[in-house]
Symmetry: C2
């Protein structure tokens, strides 16, 4: 567990999730975020804190879209050790997330053609679906495999 978390933050993370060590930029600003690998599925999650809220004390739509963008792109990161950029993101807002709720999301790849991936994703709070959507990502170049990813696990096996 990271030394950077308050006790309240560290005590409220669902089993299997580990904090992302994002120490700069927008990722740090909106964090902390967490990831969990279960087989080939990587989920991203976070707990709604005060600095994520809108004027109604719910999670701001911009935060949900940011997590959708990152979480749904993980399906590509798991499949390939490549950088990618977002081409199009369509988000349907179905329900709000309240202050204190745990929000998590993942996606499945619908199609891959010429390094362009189309994925379908979801964000949930418990059994409640907060957001569904479709994203188009473009792979732009290779990078080192990261822990949890297929290529990393295979390389570690030797």
């Amino acid at each position: 567990m990271s030394d950077d978390l308050t006790d309240a933050q560290a005590g409220q993370i669902p089993a299997g999730y580990k904090p992302l060590n994002w120490t700069r930029g927008f990722g740090r600003q909106i964090g902390p975020l967490y990831e969990r690998y279960q087989g080939d599925v990587c989920s991203l999650g976070f707990r709604v804190e005060e600095h994520h809220t809108n004027g109604l004390a719910n999670c701001h739509g911009g935060m949900l879209m940011t997590v959708a963008d990152v979480a749904w792109g993980r399906a590509i990161s798991v499949a390939r050790s490549h950088f990618w950029v977002t081409v199009r993101l369509t988000c349907d807002f179905l329900s709000g997330a309240k202050l204190g709720e745990w929000v998590e999301g993942d996606s499945e790849i619908l199609a891959e053609e010429d390094d362009v991936y189309t994925v379908r994703g979801t964000l949930r709070a418990g059994d409640r679906v907060l957001m569904t959507g479709t994203a188009v990502y473009k792979v732009i170049g290779p990078r080192e495999p990261r822990p949890g990813e297929k290529a990393y696990v295979e390389a570690a096996r030797g």
Copy 2:
């Protein structure tokens, strides 16, 4: 001008823009943001700082979508003194914004039916279009008019 801005921030705001006094929640976390009224058009803008960047030192897509969500909804705020929520947002990423660039956006209302608004919006950096998209918002209830809005200006005229 707000006392909250650094000299570097205050010195780099295009003419006509005033800082939004968002002192809490996600709005404060991702700020500072600025607004400008020109006739019936309200634009939102910000300068890309370190805390807005992704791993490529460009503005993070989540930040651009957050600003799109808020900026494009302004067309409704100008027309009606009502709260609204986002129903669907589709964002096409056309170009990136670099650290230090000024980004601004606005929208036009395409349709209004049963308190559901469809708007078409844009984000730009200078002459470069960064993002286009379509948003669907639902009006949920009345609020007090704010400076710059039609109802506020008309009420001030008496």
